[in-house]
Amino acid sequence: MGLLAGGVCTATALWLVSGLTAPIPAAARHGVIIASALVFLARDAGWLRFPMPQNTRQVPQDVMQRHLIKGSLQFGFEMGTSVRTYVSASAPYVLGLALLLAGVDYWSALSAGLGFGLGRAATPLSRLTSTDGVDWDARLIGRLPVITIGTCLVLAVAFTVLFLRI
C-alpha cells in the first residue's frame, strides 16, 4: 500500500509540473524522452558516466520497529516515492522525465505511479517466492545488468510506439 501511495504521489507531482513544459513542441519533448532512454541505457551499460541526483540515504530500519503497521506504510511510501533511496538504475529517471515531458493525461501518470509501486513490490515478492534468499540475491546480482539495461531499451521502444501512435 505504501509503495503504491508513494509511486502515485511522485507521479502526481511530476504530472502537475509537466504543464510547464506544454509550450515546447510535442515532437521535441518526445524526442528528448526517447533519446534520454538511450543515453541512460549507455549509462547503465557503463559506456557513459555522469552523476544523477539522488538522496543517498536509506529509510531507517527502526521505522518499522517503532510501529509495525505505520512503519511499514511509511517505509513503503518512502520507497515508492524514491525520495530516500539509492537509485541504482537509470530507468526511473527516464520515467520521471517522461512524466514531465510527455504531456499525458492524469490517468496515464497515475497508472505509471501505480505501476512503479507494484514494480518495486515485485522485488521482495520474487525473493519471497524463492525458499533461499541468499541464492536469490546471488542470482539477482548476476542479472542486474540485463534488467537495468534491458529496461531502458524497452522504455525507448515503448515510448517510440506510444508517441508514434499519437
Binding site: 520515467l95 505509471a112 505501476g115 507494484l118 542470482r139 534488467i147 522504455l155 515503448a158
Partner: protein, 49 residues
C-alpha cells in the same frame, strides 16, 4: 527448491513478463503501457533499498 519454484522466483522473470506486456500494449492501450513502463522502472531498482 523445486525446479518450478526456482523458475517462478527467477529475478529476470518480472522484467521479461513486463517486456512482453509492454510490446503487446504499446500500440493498443496507452494507459496500460504507462502502468507497465512504471512497473519496469520500479523493478529495475531491485538492486537498491
Amino acid at each position: 527448491m523445486t525446479a518450478v519454484r526456482r523458475w517462478l522466483s527467477e529475478p529476470l522473470l518480472p522484467t521479461l513478463l513486463l517486456t512482453v506486456g509492454a510490446v503487446a500494449a504499446a500500440w493498443y492501450s496507452p494507459i496500460l503501457t504507462w502502468a507497465i513502463v512504471g512497473g519496469l522502472a520500479g523493478y529495475s531498482l531491485s538492486g537498491s533499498v
